[in-house]
Symmetry: C2
């Protein structure tokens, strides 16, 4: 028996006997002839059921039955892709036991979200879903490749932590032997610590947020793409690295994931060599000037403000991306570095993608005394929880900063999805812990 | 001011004014001349303190002070690496506040493990520690590169799960809003499910084991390198992929991490083109023949047995690696595929590295009814916990199998460390949740 080849490779074996294997995608009758379409990870191939034996072998088999098929690879102008397999002999590797909970063999998957999520173990097999999560892999791959190229070192930091430090109440508690532990909301403290070892670090891993929000943009466990960079001048050095990352990821998707990008009809974002940026108070002035809404003095941007700024960046700079810099210190975490020229504002930024926040980042404090002062200002009474984090800054830490990208949000915004759950293999939310 | 360059790049700028930045590694006096050694992520450079001003600028500065140094790059045969910097001007970027808890500027770090672990945020800066965790990054990189090359897709699966399925008691419970969740002990179920989508998948991520063991080989959170492969004939196909992975990782370390391998004096394992393998009952016969110990009928190998088999593999086959195949079904998880020729034994394997288990893997069941039967045999009464996992197998799953490598164990065995905590940035054990 010949070795199994992928459906995408059949065209290279015209005139040969080949073996393919995969899922029975669909059976159809066309012009009096019966066809089987077999699906594997690379695509589909049409198989002609040209004998009564072939038809007989498939009698009663449901879609999703796993088959191995030996047959003759033939060039046939009428067939999809110009190739088909004839004179097939079938082996059933794995039968289907129950009626399918959803339909996998229509080009567009009409779906009811809860039903899809309940049956994701099979629903994800739809070619459009498979392509989407291939792109997730591509985003991770492009992120790592760009940063490795730029001298970063990958780290893996603990997800079980002793204290609920970073965001107060929104942490999940874990029973850790005879005491409590918490799930890390981000690798923030650890990636900063690791700047002292590797100068430039990144991590790709899960983060956990116990926020009781039931929205289309929130899930309680997601994948964070984190980077942190030492020896910066200020947050603009961080933004320059982030710009390279966005470029690198999009380039990687275009080159290594072209079939998936095509299948999903992904509209490539427009990203200039240098992403435009606007200082927070100037963004508020702009909103007043363009839309008559006076938000000056507000410490943050509303979603509608972000959308307006996104439109402006597109019109004025031809860019789908916009940096907003200098958010007020009052709205940023305590480790944020202030703007030395005006300490009401911070050396931080958000990156808006098509008018929605995609990335948050900035320069961090790096001096021990600044941490003590910032913790006091933030009203932290008991510094025990920060003890080992703060210890880092006692022993010489360079100016540094970094950013975090939510993998699922990136995919959601790139594909224009209306629910982040569609960008998550097995989402976790207020009500969902399975599959 | 010139742009900052790495210490490793100074040699390319002889005769120029350069800027370097990093940590004050050590100050020393040699033949009446004072030197400063500056450390950055790439190495160290010697800086000659040839003026009273230069000496004055450093008066009272402790090791680990972060400095930026501008000076003349000079070739000097007497200097380490043949290069030094003269006429320096210093800027202190970040001072040191307290006496260092451990010494970072001796070539070998003499350490007391608890003190080192307590102060890991600074102890990890030692060049030998930095090199070690660079190798961890290299293992992850080599693992992914090899599998991407072989048509695998990267996945990220949930760490919060609804049921404590896989290993009974050894799971951590999480307070998930108003109910209980658990931390995943492995991505086992999810990676199998994802074979239905991508055929070949891998995941690099944290796993959580609530085992109350206090040994040099156990930690409670570690990084698992998981792979799962569809359309296999049996576990030998999995072993072939794993062999490629081990090759790929070691090759990647040799090419991309040569300085770290040299610094740590890593003894490269001997790995033949095909790793030898021995069937479980034959391994027991061999132990009886060679060492007179009769373990026939025992369902598992004792550590001493593994060591003897490791010695035998080295002597007989010149290999640091040995596959032991066919472990008794009674000792393998319920989803393990039996050996069709003798169902007392399984289509599973362990990979021994220098006489210690490094990887576990095997073929899994792929038919729905087999899962029901196996769960019944295992005594699982309530199948609710397995509902979505088992659902996968109702809808056509190909024969498949996979393996998991513990990242920290790999590093521990490669480097001959005597405690797995030394291969973990911030270990979690019975008593330790910080830093």
């Amino acid at each position: 028996m010949p070795d199994r080849i992928y459906t995408s490779e059949v065209g290279q074996h015209i005139g040969e006997r080949v073996q393919v294997a995969g899922w029975l995608h669909t059976l159809r009758r066309l012009g009096g002839i019966n066809f089987l379409v077999l699906r594997d990870v690379r695509g589909t191939v049409q198989i002609v059921l040209d004998t009564p034996e072939a038809l007989q072998a498939l009698a009663g088999l449901s879609p999703e039955t796993v088959l191995s098929v030996e047959g003759d690879a033939v060039a046939e102008a009428q067939a999809p892709g110009g190739i088909e397999i004839r004179n097939p002999a079938f082996t059933v590797l794995s039968p289907v036991r129950d009626p399918l909970p959803l339909t996998l063999n229509k080009p567009v998957m009409k779906l009811n979200l809860p039903v899809f999520l309940d049956h994701a173990v099979v629903g994800l097999r739809h070619p459009s879903k498979r392509a989407l999560f291939r792109l997730s892999a591509g985003v991770m791959g492009g992120f790592r490749a760009t940063l490795n190229q730029a001298g970063f070192t990958e780290i893996q930091t603990p997800k079980l932590v002793e204290s609920a430090t970073e965001g107060g109440a929104n942490v999940f508690a874990v029973q850790y032997f005879d005491r409590k532990a918490y799930l890390a909301q981000s690798p923030q403290f650890y990636k900063q610590i690791m700047v002292g070892i590797f100068e430039r670090v990144f991590e790709v891993g899960p983060v956990f947020r116990a926020e009781p929000h039931d929205t289309v943009r929130h899930i309680n466990e997601y994948v964070s793409l984190d980077a942190e960079i030492g020896f910066i001048r200020d947050h603009h050095d961080v933004m320059a690295i982030l710009t390279r990352v966005i470029w690198g990821v999009l380039e990687h998707l275009q080159t290594a994931y072209a079939p998936e990008m095509a299948l999903l009809k992904v509209k490539l974002p427009v990203i200039p060599e240098e992403i435009p940026n606007i200082y927070f108070p100037e963004a508020q002035e702009l909103i007043l000037a363009l839309h008559g809404e006076d938000a000056r003095g507000e410490p943050d941007l509303a979603p509608q403000h972000e959308r307006w700024l996104g439109e402006w960046a597109k019109e004025k700079h031809g860019s789908d991306f916009l940096f907003v810099t200098g958010y007020p210190m009052s709205k940023r975490p305590f480790y944020t570095h202030p703007n030395p020229a005006d300490p009401r504002y911070s050396n931080s930024f958000d990156l808006l993608f098509r008018g929605t926040e995609l990335v948050t980042g900035g320069q961090r404090l790096h001096l021990y005394q600044d941490y003590l002062d910032a913790a006091a200002r933030a009203g932290y009474k008991d510094l025990k929880a920060f003890e080992t984090y703060f210890e880092t800054f006692k022993y010489g830490m360079p100016p540094h900063g970094g950013f975090a990208i939510g993998l699922e949000r990136f995919i959601m915004q790139l594909l224009g999805l209306d629910n982040i759950r569609l960008a998550t293999l097995f989402p976790r939310d207020l009500t969902r812990l399975a599959p």
